[in-house]
């Protein structure tokens, strides 16, 4: 019954890498020795089954034997940047320890804790390094609880794409699908392991590419920064654990899109200021390292800028694969996705509570849900406007979307909406422009529009009335399939 298995013997500091194509799965078991999956130690004699186009690497400091079933593209690499990554960890661990000692003696100074910004091109391993550093920190047994901030809207992190979000972690993360590299957000299922029950703070950008609207991006970063700041003021005991910030490739490669007023590296500068970054890690880009050192390694910012090598195991993800990943993340948000820590016996059946979530579909009248979008959908470049003429609509102005207008309907159908929290209602009454800074309560998808009845069918993650609430439309669409 069991498919043929192969054993791999890894020497110390080797890495077993594998890449799965759609529909493929791969089972791995640590037989002897010690090994880790992105910084999280693997137990022996436990089978992990990877799926959904997972590109993974099991690394060993000590040497180990692995048993593998269901072959795919796999190989053993002898050169890895893990020494550098481990050293990054110990450097940040020292900052944590110093900060913690300082707090214990009442001479607390938050800036000592590691606040690390990852920069690098697309597919350079930023998220992976974030995860390794996170997992190493959580293995220290010092009750650290680092904050991961995801600023890359392409990478859904623990939720769906198009978001900027932050979440605390308390236990190492092991996932076996490529979709949510940091685990998933909380469900109503009780007693979830912590990385299957994250309680993040989520803001909605609504687009995959940050360059779609850099001004909006900046507003969101400052909103997130303000909340993180407040959070650490209220709970300074967590601040010693530090922050890791994952960024989109657009930060490191600032080709301006036309008509946007933001200067080069402005978003990096905003991050450094707002999150009080004290360390910038650049993934193998010499020029960017030097530019960052020029800008931020001065006495005013006092940021350490360091370059680490890119892993040779990083896989270039193509657009089609990204699209599939986006669709899987959205599906996972509504219907759940299985994750790693399942016993072997459940492997073949499908009753993982987190993997079988039940969303709610309900019919809402056109007036029942207040839908906005941010900024004009396709802005003409400033140069195309009459000389001296100001824009009629700014890039960050909320605009009402009318479901009864046929033009808007085509955008709404299958569109992903971010449902804002209840507090957004008072914001709309007072100052509409503050709508951008409201956090998200969840996501909706409009699955049908009935022009005659003036109703829409809305898919929501769980049963609750969306009547009278506010939602923001982006450019992300999802068709259940």
């Amino acid at each position: 019954m069991a498919p043929e298995s192969r054993e791999f013997a890894l020497s110390p500091q080797n890495e077993f890498r594998f890449e799965l194509d759609p529909g493929e799965t791969l089972s791995l078991k640590l037989l002897t020795g010690r090994a880790e999956l992105y910084g999280a130690e693997l137990p022996q004699e436990r089978t992990y089954t990877f799926a959904s186009e997972y590109k993974g690497a099991v690394f060993t400091w000590h040497g180990c034997t692995l048993e593998m079933r269901h072959a795919s593209t796999e190989y053993v690499a002898e050169e890895t940047p893990m020494v550098s990554y481990l050293n990054c960890h110990i450097a940040s661990e020292q900052m944590r320890v110093r900060s913690s000692i300082a707090r214990r003696h009442g001479i607390g100074n938050q800036t000592q804790a590691p606040r690390v910004l990852m920069l690098g091109a697309e597919n350079s391993g930023k998220t992976t390094l974030c995860k390794i550093l996170l997992n190493y920190a959580l293995r220290a047994g010092q009750s650290w609880s680092p904050l991961i901030i995801n600023l890359d809207p392409l990478d859904g992190a623990w939720t769906v794409p198009g978001t900027l979000s932050a979440s605390h972690f308390t236990s190492p993360v092991v996932v076996t699908s490529a979709d949510n590299p940091f685990g998933t957000t909380a469900t109503s299922a009780p007693g979830s392991l912590s990385f299957a029950g994250l309680l993040p703070l989520v803001f909605w950008f609504g687009h995959i590419d940050p360059k779609h609207n850099l001004d909006y991006m900046r507003r969101l970063i400052s909103a997130l920064g303000a909340k993180v700041d407040q959070h650490y003021q209220d709970y300074p005991e967590f601040s010693a654990s530090g922050i890791f910030i994952d960024t989109p490739a657009a930060f490191a490669n600032p080709n301006q899109s036309p008509g946007q007023s933001i200067e080069k590296y402005a978003l990096i500068g905003a991050c450094v200021e707002l999150f009080r970054v004290n360390t910038i890690i650049v993934m193998g880009n010499e020029k960017l390292t030097v530019e960052m050192q020029k800008r931020f390694a001065d006495s005013r910012h006092g940021v350490s800028v360091v370059k680490v090598p890119r892993s040779g195991g990083v896989v270039d993800i193509d657009a089609a694969c990204r699209r599939r990943s986006v669709a899987r993340q959205l599906r996972g948000y509504f219907y759940g996705a299985r994750h790693a820590l399942r016993g072997e016996r459940e492997e073949d059946s499908d009753f993982d509570p987190e993997a079988t979530l039940a969303p709610t579909s309900s019919v809402v009248s056109f007036d029942g849900l207040h839908i906005y979008r941010i900024g004009e959908e396709s802005l003409a470049p400033s140069s195309a406007l009459p000389i001296g003429a100001p824009r009629a609509i700014s890039t960050t102005q909320p605009i009402v979307v009318d479901p009864s207008s046929p033009m808007h309907q085509s955008r709404l159908l299958n569109g992903v909406l971010a449902l804002l929290g209840p507090s957004a209602l008072s914001v709309v009454q007072n100052d509409l422009s503050q709508l951008l800074e409201c956090s998200v309560a969840g996501f909706l998808v409009i699955t049908a529009i009935d022009q005659d009845q003036r109703t829409m069918t809305v898919l929501a993650p769980s049963a609750a009335s969306v009547e009278g609430r506010i939602a923001i439309l982006g450019s992300i669409e999802w068709v259940e399939g």
């Binding site: 010690r34 130690e41 693997l42 137990p43 436990r46 000590h62 020494v83 481990l86 050293n87 110990i90 661990e93 020292q94 320890v97 110093r98 003696h105 009442g106 220290a140 609880s145 939720t159 190492p172 909380a186 109503s188 299922a189 009780p190 007693g191 392991l193 912590s194 029950g197 993040p200 703070l201 989520v202 959070h231 967590f238 360091v306 370059k307 680490v308 459940e346 509570p353 979530l357 039940a358 969303p359 579909s361 019919v363 009248s365 007036d367 029942g368 929290g421 209840p422 507090s423 209602l425 956090s439 309560a441 993650p461 769980s462 049963a463 609750a464 009335s465 009547e467 009278g468 609430r469």
Partner: protein
């Protein structure tokens, strides 16, 4: 090995002469702590390492001093001189407030490990005198008190650093009492100064206080202490003649000896470095002074506590006189009778009997509270911190390429218990076992639920509101949603509440006359003058967005929002908008909503919906309008 390996520029010691310690052969030894493997054979590295450790010593902290002492003792063999230099440099360069704890460390090391005495003896005088010249009078007083303990800090009540050193230092500190030698009968003409007598009195009092702690019901000890307090009071009143001062000093010294003898058995300190120095041979001085703040409290409350002590002193004399009569030939003096004679002479007014010595007992209680039993966990943390900080690393691309096997060991070998299900490691101590047990429970619940409750419709929870997230102090979701450890959280809550009640906000200048009201409970904020801060403050107060709240009220309001959120989440429903809560929203319409749920959740969903309306969760938006919850808002979830 190249010379470059001995340079550790990361520790910022440019002026440290590298050639002082020639490189030695690295000889790994089994059973030696890991940090030692890498540092105990390289003097320059160890110097940098120990110096870095010393930086933890920024205030009088007993665990830090103990840890540093232990480290010094462990490395005496090869690194004794390095430790000595490191401490001496630290004392010389330390900012004024740090000098005192640094000396306490020196005191602790030399009293616990005799071979260090010979290392410190040549330099201690200069160190001490230089320090006393720079520090403020209060710290100087503390240093002098320590100096007094050195007098019989050595084996067999001899001076810790030997006669010559002790005399030389004392001569500089108290030049007037030149002829007044420690431990010898004084000569008739000597005139000790007031400050010297006071210093010695303080030391004796500290010793007595310790003794009282050991035998709390010893009435005689109590009596002696009371008398000593009286004496101190008298001397401070500065109406005492030089002759009387001299007499008091003599009594104090012989009394000190009588205490010192039983407290410190005549332990012969071995001089061979091979002998382990685990057990303390002498009580290091810092232990009698757990914190500088306590010491300052003692000073400020002096007059008050003395007043009550004076009252207590009166019923004691009978017993004390009896002791005196019996012990007349011995060295133990009759303090009480001395005191009585002073009273008779009219120097001190006698007082009536009555109140208990509240000051002393409460101080004693505080002290016993400050030494909790969780030492081993703390040790574990300290040990970890030491090992982490001992690693020499700089954030440069080149330095990041170096291999550091000790870091791998930190990740893998330090924690021995491993969860077989997920690979997470735990410590092999009480705390670690508890954490492991909780962790296994979590796995069990997860697996159990997977097996039993298949087919039940769960759904993705809504995200929490930004303000809730900000005030959400508990990132560990699994435990929180369950609340299975209620008793522990009650304890924590009580502790937290006490902390809140202690919190204060300094009243800005000009604001002190206006009454302020807490926006939550509408009651007036209490004002109070804090002696330590020398400021008028609002008690139990906290400032948020330039509004002053009662700290407890605000915490209640915040946890009420959290409780509400938890209640909604646990019911599996959402933070739905409630019609009641939104009465002011004109857009709200009850449209033709019908709910169709997918598959098995239909019934559950409809039921939950009915409950939704009870949850008005918008508390945090306008905290001012919130009624204070009547009871501690902690969700009781079954």
């Amino acid at each position: 090995m190249t010379a470059a390996m001995y340079q550790h520029p990361g520790y910022g010691q440019p002026d440290y002469p590298q050639q002082r310690y020639p490189p030695q052969q690295f000889m790994p030894q089994p059973g030696v702590p890991l940090y030692a493997q890498y540092y105990a054979y390289d003097p320059a590295a160890f110097y940098a390492f120990y110096r870095d450790q010393l930086r933890q010593l920024v205030q009088n902290s007993r665990p830090v001093i103990q840890q540093l002492t232990q480290l010094a003792i462990e490395n005496l063999g090869l690194m004794g001189q390095v430790v000595t230099d490191s401490i001496a440099d630290y004392i010389r360069n330390a900012p004024v407030p740090v000098k005192l704890p640094a000396f306490y460390l020196l005191d602790s090391i030399t009293k616990n490990c005799n071979p260090y005495v010979s290392l410190f003896a040549p330099i201690v005088k200069d160190l001490f005198l230089q320090a006393t010249r720079t520090v403020d009078p209060q710290t100087r007083q503390k240093l002098c008190e320590m100096l007094v303990t050195w007098r019989n800090g050595g084996p067999n009540q001899t001076p810790l650093f030997g006669d010559k050193v002790q005399v030389a230092i004392e001569r500089e500190i108290w030049p007037e009492s030149d002829s007044n030698r420690y431990g010898r009968r004084r000569h008739g003409q000597s005139c000790p100064t007031q400050s010297q007598v006071l210093t010695e009195l303080e030391v004796l009092l500290a010793l007595k206080e310790k003794a009282v702690q050991d035998t709390p019901y010893d009435g005689e000890l109590r009596g002696q202490m009371d008398a000593l307090f009286q004496l101190r009071n008298m001397v401070q009143a500065s109406g005492v003649t030089p002759n009387e001062l001299a007499e008091i000093l003599t009594s104090v010294r012989s009394l000190a000896k009588s205490i010192g003898a039983p407290a410190a058995p005549p332990s012969h300190v071995p001089s061979a470095p091979a002998v382990p120095y685990g057990a303390p041979q002498q009580v290091p001085f810092f232990q009698s002074q757990p914190s500088t703040t306590r010491a300052s409290v003692m000073h400020s409350d002096l007059s008050a506590s003395l007043a009550s002590l004076a009252k207590l002193a009166a019923p004691q004399p009978a017993q004390s006189t009896a002791t005196t009569a019996a012990a007349a030939p011995s060295a133990i003096p009759d303090i009480s009778s001395l005191f009585k004679s002073l009273v008779a002479a009219g120097i001190v007014p006698s007082a009536g009997s009555g109140a208990a010595p509240a000051g002393v007992t409460s101080q004693g209680d505080q002290k016993s509270e400050t030494s909790p039993v969780t030492d081993s966990e703390l040790e574990e943390t300290l040990e970890y911190e030491r090992r982490v900080l001992a690693i020499d690393i700089k954030l440069t691309s080149a330095d990041l390429m170096k291999e550091r096997p000790e870091v791998i060991s930190l990740l893998y070998d330090r924690q021995t218990t491993q969860c077989k299900q997920c690979g997470l490691r735990f410590h092999d101590n009480a705390k670690g076992k508890k954490a492991f047990q909780d962790h296994l429970d979590q796995h069990f619940r997860q697996n159990n639920r997977t097996n039993q409750q298949m087919g039940r419709g769960y759904s993705r929870s809504w995200f929490i509101e930004a303000d809730d997230w900000v005030h959400d102090g508990l990132p560990d979701t699994g435990d929180r949603l369950h609340e299975h450890n209620v008793s522990r959280s009650d304890e924590v809550a009580a502790k937290k509440r006490k902390e809140l009640e202690r919190s204060f906000v300094v009243i800005p200048p000009g604001e002190d006359t206006k009454p302020r009201f807490c926006p939550i409970c509408k009651e007036q904020l209490k004002t109070e003058f804090l002696e330590d801060e020398e400021e008028w403050v609002w008690r139990n107060a906290v400032e948020h967005k330039s509004t002053i709240y009662h700290a407890t009220c605000r915490a209640d309001a915040l946890s009420a929002t959290l409780a509400n959120r938890l209640r909604t989440e646990t019911k599996g429903s959402s933070r739905a908008v409630t019609p009641e809560g939104r009465s002011g929203t004109p857009q709200l319409q009850v449209g033709n909503v019908k709910s169709e749920t997918n598959g098995s959740t239909a019934a559950a969903g409809a039921k939950r919906k009915a409950e939704d309306d009870d949850d008005a969760v918008d508390v945090h938006v306008k905290v001012e309008e919130v009624e204070p919850p009547l009871k501690k808002a902690r969700p009781s979830i079954n």
